[in-house]
Amino acid sequence: MSFDRMRPAPSSRPEVRLVGKSKAIEAIETDIECAARSDAKVLITGETGVGKEVVARLIHQRSQRSSGNLITVNCAGVPDSLLESELFGHTRGSFTGAYRDKAGLLEQAQNGTVFLDEVGEMSMRMQVVLLRFLETGEIQRIGAARSHTHVNVRLVTATNRDLQTQIASGAFREDLYFRLNVIRLSIPPLRERTDDIPLLIEHFLETCSRQHGVAAPRVDSATMAVLTAHPWPGNVRELRNVVERLVLKANGQVITPSGLPSDVLPRAARPVAAIATASAAQPARRPIAEEMVAQMLERRETFWSLVYPEFMARDLTREDLRGIVQIGLENTSGNYRLLTRLFGMPDEDYKRFLSFLRKHECHLPFKHYRVARVPLNSTRSTAAVV
């Protein structure tokens, strides 16, 4: 879950860097330098997986605050009360389970940097709380009668949402936007800097093989061309995940196009079976989605224990999640209630599950799957799938 992302960055964490030589990367490097030399608030925008956290880390490392803590908080999927308690702390007895006074993360980041990721997901109430904090710099712990202390932190925020659209729809406060967006850093998606893909692949081949203690495989030129041409909707994170799987699978051998996952291959080159299962309007199935569905069907895992934490830790992209829902719907003939059971959740979780999918734009229309091959209420259909 997101809680374990709320932590001070260990001081021993290795230096991060941007990999690439494209014009876009050069421009980002210049902007990072500008941001690091000032102490202004920074808003980092870009699609999922482009490396917003890496950029935030670089700004902190190169700034005058580098000797202080960098605290990362992911605002997505965390209830208001918990987010407020984590950021501002609480006093003993302020709510059930508050057995002692607890300092908030903003206090722990004194003289350092706080990185608020997915800030576009923040509720209106939390936006007001943050707005007030920006004005006063004062911390009032939950349950405390008055402000407890004044903190000096630098705020760096990030979002993959279009905040202007959210402002227009009333979901994000315009005054907060301009306070957070003093310096804006916009990171382009990987498909707009394809020159960097071979460099990133080489980088991940080396780091992943070192991390797993296996020999680094070599990627032949045809494979490199396929990987460079792929649009990478999950950006650098998706690329790293694919390379990591290749490293583990190849075991030091040369990687050829036939060794690539089918969703990375150009459509014409995909195995017939993979295409046959996906209708023209549907994206191709993703091996990771199939594997996760298989685990849930074999009752080894449930959606909440397997998919949810991976998604919140952003090891799964929205596309992956949609792939999982897609496979589920295919096997329940578009019945979400059955799908809830199929993924190992109790019936009471039906609404929670659907609101989770809607929130992350992964709620697929069920009608397409209603062309039932099996009766809707047949539980046998769930046992024989995938």
């Binding site: 500008c34 202004a40 202007q164 005054d175 301009f178 306070r179 003093v182 310096i183």
Partner: protein
Amino acid sequence: MKDPLPAPLVMVVDDDDSVLDVLERLLLKWGYRTSAFRRFEEAKAQLEKTRPGPDALIVDVRLGNYNGLQLVHLTKQAHPETVIVVVSGFDDPVLRQEAALVGAKYLLKPRDLTRIKDYLPPLTAN
């Protein structure tokens, strides 16, 4: 005889045409040279490539998706001598403080526009 010094160059950045027009007219009337920009990206590119920088920068806070204060930080780093005036249609204490931290004036428009001259570099005699 030596050539007279050119009038100070004032760069104006505002995405509102009417404000840009009023400011340019005022500055020209007072005797300044001006260069005007409507878009953040164009102004940023100009500040990055031009040496020396303008003598003064007048910038709006709201520039489309961007905050004019980003240009202030950029100017402070690239052209520390440039005098900076931030103009805004709303009085935000946090942004006012941000401007003050980098030594920029924060004025409200339209109320304070005619007072801008007080904060600009002086014109040479004649």
